[in-house]
């Protein structure tokens, strides 16, 4: 196991394309960290530099304080798992797992012990005698993970390992990967574009965009206190709603004015009303928007139903306002028709505000 430190690490391809721009990050021993971002954000380049598969253009990567910039991949003791696996087609699953240990000169009893241990962790017990061509995609993938891990690396790197799986398999793999982490205590770095995977599994999430780190935090911090409007919009399902507007002092109270809508800014923002940027973006998650068909209930905005989706556990109602479409989560019992007028109320505890010019969040007070 190892603590992994990235100090002002950059990656430039050719002499122009800067994929990673001076990022600094520490992954603690035994920690599960997700690198999250859209395609092209630099997350895979970062992982490949940690693995030693890409040269580091600038900066230092250290394992337990020792720089590894000049170490070959196999000397770094990292294991890497990809979305696709090249298993030895003529060997059984057992032999596929035993192979790396045998080449490392392990004795038979120790090999068997390790193979059985990882077969159990990755739920391969009944598959050990099969050859890769008799495995389903999901099974082959678990074998690939087990083979990457039998040598017990200092660090385990996973690059989008489950993004191509169906819903049920994805949930199963999530449990298996978390179990691996809990039982074996590997330092794990997990690259994904899927915010839900990152949220579900990671101790901390590193959100990346255009080669830079936008925020590092626990899933709860990233979800509830996004550092900027990019993080806010990228994390959360359904995605956060945004409304543009300005602070406006009305009868001694600071309001948020957006078009013909106006509602009070949350209490904690009142004292700093005059210091706020003139152009703000208000973000609110669909789970924190309440919907009513009754215009007499107090509301912050009004619109008409675009569509309503029934997810059985809950309903997602898309509401068109003149300038913007909002989504709100309602109980399944809430039934509406297309084009029906509805009224929205935003929970002030969960409104977040961003400086329109910089995208940066207006800091919420810590409790």
């Amino acid at each position: 196991m190892a603590t992994i430190t990235l100090d002002k690490v950059s990656k430039t391809y050719g002499n122009r394309v800067e994929a990673v721009k001076s990022i600094t990050l520490e992954v603690k021993d035994g920690e599960f960290v997700a690198l999250l971002g859209p395609s092209g954000c630099g997350k895979s380049s970062t992982m490949r530099m940690i693995a030693g598969l890409e040269e580091i253009t600038e900066g230092t990567i250290s394992f337990d304080g020792k720089p590894v910039n000049n170490l070959r991949p196999r000397d770094r003791k990292v294991a890497m798992a990809f979305e696709t696996y090249a298993l030895y087609p003529t060997l059984t699953v057992y032999e596929n797992l035993a192979f790396p240990l045998r080449s490392a000169g392990w004795d038979k009893a120790k090999i068997d012990e390790k193979v059985q241990e990882y077969a159990k962790l990755l739920e391969l017990g009944r598959l050990l005698d099969r050859v890769p061509s008799d495995l389903s995609g999901g099974q082959a993938q678990r074998v690939g993970l087990a083979r990457a891990l039998v040598r017990e690396p200092a660090c385990f790197l996973l690059d989008e390992p489950i993004s191509h799986l169906d819903t049920r398999q994805r949930h199963r793999m999530r449990q298996i990967i978390m179990r691996l982490h809990l039982e074996k205590g590997f330092t794990m770095i997990y690259v994904t574009h899927d915010q839900e995977e990152a949220m579900a599994m990671a101790d901390r999430i590193v959100v990346m965009h255009e080669g830079m780190i936008r925020q590092i935090g626990t899933p709860a911090e990233i979800y509830r206190d996004p550092a900027d409007d990019f993080v806010a919009g990228f994390v959360g399902e359904p995605p956060m709603n945004f409304l543009e507007g300005s602070p406006n002092l009305d009868d001694g109270q600071w309001m948020f004015r957006s078009g013909d809508r106006q509602f009070p800014l949350p209490k904690w923002m009142q004292p700093q009303g005059d210091k706020l940027p003139s152009n703000l973006s208000m973000g609110i998650r669909p789970f924190d928007v309440a919907v009513s068909t009754d215009g007499n209930t107090p509301h912050d905005a009004a619109g008409e139903v675009f569509v309503a989706e029934n997810l059985c556990d809950y309903r997602i109602v898309a509401v068109d306002m003149t300038d913007v479409r909002f989504q709100a989560v309602t109980p399944t019992s809430f039934s509406v028709n297309r084009h029906q007028p509805v009224f929205l109320k935003f929970d002030p505890a969960f409104m977040r505000f961003f400086d329109k010019a910089t995208g940066k969040a207006i800091q919420t007070p810590r409790d």
Binding site: S39, S136, G137, D166, T167, R168, Q169, H171, R172, R174, Q175, M178, R179, L182, D194, Q195, E196, M199, A200, M201, T218, P219, A220, Y223, R224, G233, V235, G236, P239, R285, F287, D288, V289, A290, V291, S292, T293, D294, T297, P298, F306, V307, E309, N310, L311, C312, D313, Y314, I316, A318, R325, V329, T330, P331, T332, S333, F334, R338, K345, D347
Partner: protein, 380 residues
């Protein structure tokens, strides 16, 4: 209405793409075909489109067999996952292409292309060639080209699978609105549970070429016919516990496998048992049960916290019960520690009972939906 009658497609001697499919596609319906990879979803679409011919069976539209009708004469519009766009044409021309065959003025074509581009948020890409687009952009162009013209049936194979979350939500809404506005008949293939539930008026669930169940989202969600459908529809997937019925002082109880706890068997369930000892499993959705840190009358079964997944608006806790794991959804403020004992509101009455993977009994619906820390009810 289009009917699939005993449709089978065999590849080679023994491999079946689909087997004995029987279902109908109703006029103006949004039908989702849902299943894991290898289920025969895309094969079904290709059979409907006429790109491949069935080995046996018939496809009938309004009483007439479609099998001898060439694909281009079936009046169907298709968007397939590998987005075969014309690489030498701009996005604009790709979108306009299906309209040229129709007697439409240049102005009318232009307007339609503009409208479609706005809906799909690709207006600023209209003059580019497909080679200069990202995967998600190409997918939107392919979808646009399929749905830009009127057709008696739209066949969409994972049309929004490659888009990022924001865009996927937006396109999901647009597809749903389009089906309502145009009264279009749409068959859409997906491997994502939420997409299937959100879009389908009915969902056909396939597995290894066989139709498992077809029904409304509520039907397949609340009354799955077997363990496969139960575990494949809904997120997170349903949890299952092996149980053994046994008589305890004259009272019938379910002994949970590898676990000390027993569950009372309500009368209406007892009548469904067939005297067998093995083969029973109880299934329960993460949102159908609650947890408590203390034992109380409604939380009687102990579990050990094994995994906590943070979803932002809620947490998914996987609790160890004997050899099994049971998932339960809690408010995001509830974050139990690993290894801690929690009490679950497991109760045979609110669980699905399966015998040899087939459903015997479902709980009556009396749930309030998903709890969250945000407002979930109507405006206060």
């Amino acid at each position: 209405m289009i009917e699939l009658k005993n449709i089978s497609k065999r590849y080679g001697l023994t491999t079946f793409g689909v087997r004995d499919l029987n279902f109908e596609i109703r006029d103006q319906e949004f039908l989702v075909i849902y299943g894991p990879s290898g289920a025969g979803k895309s094969t079904t679409l290709k059979l409907l489109a006429g790109i491949i011919k069935p080995t046996s069976g018939d496809i009938v539209r309004d009483g007439q067999s479609l099998l001898e009708t060439a694909p281009e004469s079936r009046d169907m519009a298709m968007a397939f996952e590998n987005y075969a766009l014309y690489s030498h044409m701009s996005v604009r021309d790709n979108l306009a292409f299906p309209l040229h065959a129709r007697a439409m003025s240049k102005k009318e074509i232009d307007e339609r292309v503009q409208r479609m581009a706005r809906t799909l948020q690709i207006t600023d890409l209209l003059d580019r060639r497909p080679g200069f687009l990202s995967g998600g952009q190409r997918q939107r162009v392919a979808l646009g080209r399929a749905i830009i013209r009127p057709a008696s049936l739209y066949l969409l194979d994972e049309p929004i699978g490659h888009l990022d979350a924001k865009l996927r939500h937006r396109m999901r809404g647009e597809l749903k609105a389009m089906s309502a506005d145009l009264n279009a008949t749409i068959v859409l293939v997906t491997t994502a549970s939420r997409e299937a539930l959100a879009l389908g008026e009915r969902i056909a669930i396939l597995r290894e070429g066989h139709l498992q169940q077809i029904g409304t989202p509520d039907e397949v969600y609340y009354q799955p016919v077997n363990e496969f459908v139960a575990s494949f529809v809904g997120e997170p997937p349903m949890s299952f516990l092996g149980i053994e019925p046994r008589s305890d002082g004259g009272k019938l109880r379910f002994q949970i496998q590898d676990c000390d706890d027993c569950l009372d068997v309500p009368m209406q369930l007892a009548q469904h048992l067939n005297g067998q000892k093995e083969g029973y499993r109880l299934g329960v959705r993460a949102s159908e049960i609650t947890v408590s840190s203390q034992k109380d009358p409604s939380h009687q079964v102990a579990g050990e916290v094994y995994i906590v997944e943070h979803m932002g608006y809620c947490n998914i806790i996987s609790a160890k019960l004997g050899n099994g794991l049971v998932r339960v959804i809690t408010e995001s403020a509830v974050i139990p520690k690993r290894g801690e004992t929690i009490w679950l509101s497991l109760n045979a009455e609110n669980m699905h009972l399966f015998y040899q993977t087939k459903a015997l009994q479902h709980p009556s619906r009396s749930r309030d939906g998903l709890k969250t820390n945000g407002v979930m009810t109507e405006a206060r």
